[in-house]
């Protein structure tokens, strides 16, 4: 605020001096020039009346000649003072208006307002750098979960979008270069409420700079970064960036997973999708020959995972020299039938359209589907606003970069145990995954389950934490409905993390220890019911023993007296 006031005062110096001078001259003139009163006696106007007359004259209100009619000499002077003071006012007001319009001043006002709204945040928040497709998806998903976010983006249009969007909560946004440390600090990097920083700009270097800045200025803060090339990824990992997402690798990896164990892939999909949406169908990508159109970063990642699964992949690429596949590819865009036929589309089982142009990708899959209707179709979607046409194309799998990154980050931010679980799950076989899937669908039915974490400590589970200090509690015992303990809570414990030791699908007979971290998935609303058990000692006692005891100081005394 200081800066604005000082800037304002400094710029207002000249206009204020002009105003004071104009008033002084006009008032002094009126006082010195002799007039006559109603009876024709000579009379001198006092400072009080002179100031009064000049005040209403200068502001163009004009009440007339008071307290007595003016002499011609006074009128002459009034003409002078009118022009003098009105021009001085116009000058001053003009100055104020220009000052308010000035970009530097506006910017100072906006930054101050932004800084103030960050200072007023009294709950945990995340800083999201970059409000493109991914950033907006992520911020919206966070807002749905009542988690606060602060946005920085260099593009003013995107900040305008943010202001117009109805998030259900206030999301402060600043139009600035997030790789400048001053702006990160302004966005609350050093605040004790800041829980993490997510760098999602479309510029790898900017993301790198954001990661370094945050690691240097606020060491403990988790940093999640998007990186599109391997060397930036390695660079970020070298100074301890907590989580790095390469959307192409992630997708190639998922596709490989779908090929090799469809069950595990489905488990991934279910647990990382938005809760309460309809569950996605299981995918069974066929093994056989695949045609891969486009050998850019995405194509390379997919190729790698296809080859890794022992699947034959034919590359179709328009510019083999630049992408480095000159010796083993079919030259062409893949949008025309001849190229696809040359790649052997008739006997292929699947096609991946992975160029960076959405229209071409759709054209590739449509052409291919005409040549071979049984193909398994995968396409890469580059822009968020093409959602409708990609849906209409009825593809088996759409790689939407922004969605992949947003889902991944959301899982990292909201349920930190989920990545641990998924990592463990990949080491299991498909049959294990299928069993987990059937257990989950038995509990949650047709919609995506909610996933939540529970830490057995004094903050998240005070009642259970106290009980654990006195006697053992089995996991199965707390998974009862607090309304009627004969019914189980419709949720499944997915993971138990004790120290560094993860235990997949812990059984009901596991004895809980304080400090354990548990990952659950289940129907929506179950998490709240469970937290009631964790917080309220009486509810916990009922769930554990079936005993409903009146609890108050008097009752406790009477009970012990018995």
């Amino acid at each position: 605020m200081d800066r604005i006031i000082f800037l304002f005062l400094r710029r207002m110096r000249a206009p204020l001096l002009v105003l004071i001078a104009a008033y002084t001259i006009a008032v002094l003139g009126l006082v010195l020039i002799p007039g006559v009163d109603a009876e024709g006696r000579p009379w001198h106007m006092g400072f009080f009346h002179a100031f009064y007359v000049i005040s209403y004259t200068a502001t163009t209100i004009g009440f007339g000649e008071v307290p007595h009619a003016f002499t011609d000499a006074q009128r002459m002077w009034t003409i002078v003072s009118i022009y003098l003071s009105v021009i001085a006012w116009l000058y001053a007001i003009g100055k104020i208006l220009t000052l308010l319009q000035e970009p530097a001043f506006k910017r100072a006002v906006i930054e101050q307002a932004f800084a103030r709204s960050i200072r007023r945040l009294r709950e945990p928040f995340y800083i999201i750098c970059g409000y493109g497709d991914t950033g907006s998806l992520l911020v919206r998903a966070l807002a749905q979960r009542n988690i606060r976010a602060v946005v920085i983006d260099r593009n003013p249009d995107r900040i305008d979008d943010l202001e117009l969007e109805d998030m259900g909560m206030y999301v402060p946004g600043l139009c600035a270069d997030a790789s400048v440390s001053a702006y990160l600090t302004l966005a609350g990097l050093l605040s004790r409420h800041c829980r993490g920083i997510v760098a999602l700009t479309d510029d790898d270097d900017a993301n790198l700079k954001i990661a370094i800045t945050s690691k240097l200025l606020h060491r403990e803060l988790p940093v999640i970064c998007r990186a599109e090339t391997r060397d930036v990824q390695d660079n970020m990992a070298s100074f301890g960036t907590d989580h790095i997402i390469n959307p192409f690798d992630t997708f190639g990896d998922r596709l490989g997973l779908a090929l090799h164990s469809p069950g595990t892939h489905l488990l991934y999909e279910w647990l990382t999708s938005v809760p309460n949406m309809p569950l996605s169908e299981p995918l069974y990508p066929p093994h056989g020959k695949w045609v891969l159109c486009g050998y850019g970063r995405f194509g390379k990642a997919v190729h790698e995972s296809l080859v890794g699964e022992g699947v034959e992949a034919v590359i179709v690429e328009a510019d083999p020299q630049r992408t480095g596949c000159a010796d083993r590819c079919i030259i062409g865009r893949g949008t025309e039938a001849i190229t696809l036929q040359a790649a052997g589309i008739e006997e292929a089982v699947g096609i991946v359209a992975g160029t960076d142009n959405d229209a071409n990708n759709l054209s590739i899959v449509m052409t291919a589907a005409e040549l071979n209707p049984k193909l398994f179709m995968v396409a890469r979607q580059n822009r968020h606003d093409n959602d409708a046409i990609f849906k209409a194309a009825r593809l088996n799998l759409v790689m939407h970069r922004s969605e992949i990154i947003a889902e991944d980050i959301l899982a990292q931010l909201t349920t930190p145990l989920l990545p641990v679980f998924l990592q463990q799950a990949r080491q299991q076989n498909n049959a294990w995954a299928n069993e987990v899937i059937s257990r989950i669908s038995a509990v949650t039915g047709e919609v995506v389950p909610e996933v939540w974490t529970l830490t057995l400590d004094a903050q998240q589970a005070p009642a259970l934490w106290q009980t654990l200090a006195m006697h053992d509690v089995h996991l199965g015992e707390i998974l009862r409905d607090p309304r009627d303990r004969d019914y189980p809570l419709s949720c499944i414990p997915l993971l138990l993390l004790r120290g560094k030791d993860p235990r997949l699908m812990p059984g009901e007979d596991v004895v809980l220890r304080s400090g354990d971290r548990l990952l659950f998935c289940g129907r929506s609303g179950v998490a709240e019911r469970m937290s009631r058990v964790m917080y309220n000692g009486n509810v916990l006692r009922y769930v554990l023993s079936g005993e409903e005891r009146p609890d108050g100081w008097i009752w406790r005394v009477m009970k012990s007296a018995e």
Binding site: F6, R11, L16, L17, A21, G46, H49
Partner: protein, 127 residues
């Protein structure tokens, strides 16, 4: 020599000298305190205040504060004068004059602080 500094110093010192001129004389005697002098003191003080705007140093802040105090006191004196003469109808009796002059005296103290600060700042300059 810097013309800006000359103008700055001129108005600050003029504010003090005019203030002193108005203040001096028999305390409650209206004949010893000229209304034109009070007008000049107010104008010069306002100009001095505006000249101090926008200085972000500690010294600048203190200078501005002392000027604002002087303005407040002088404007209060002017209001008392106008009220006594035009509104209450008592005219400039010795009681009214006393309060006007004491208000101006307070403003003079603030102006002295201003000048002392200005001198300190100048002495600290080793150029």
């Amino acid at each position: 020599m810097n013309l800006e500094k000359v103008v700055f110093g001129f108005f600050i010192i003029l504010a003090l000298t005019l203030n002193f001129g108005f203040f001096i004389g028999e305390f409650d005697n209206p004949d010893h305190h000229n209304v034109y002098e009070l007008f000049a003191v107010i104008v010069v003080n306002l100009i001095a205040t505006v000249l101090k705007f926008g200085d972000r140093t500690q010294m600048g802040a203190l200078l501005l504060a002392s000027s604002l105090v002087a303005d407040l006191q002088l404007l209060a004196a002017a209001v008392v004068w106008g009220y006594a003469q035009h509104v209450s109808g008592t005219g400039l009796d010795s009681m009214v004059m006393g309060s006007i002059v004491s208000l101006a005296g307070g403003a003079m103290l603030a102006n002295i602080v201003s000048v002392v600060l200005l001198i300190i700042e100048t002495v600290n300059l080793r150029r």
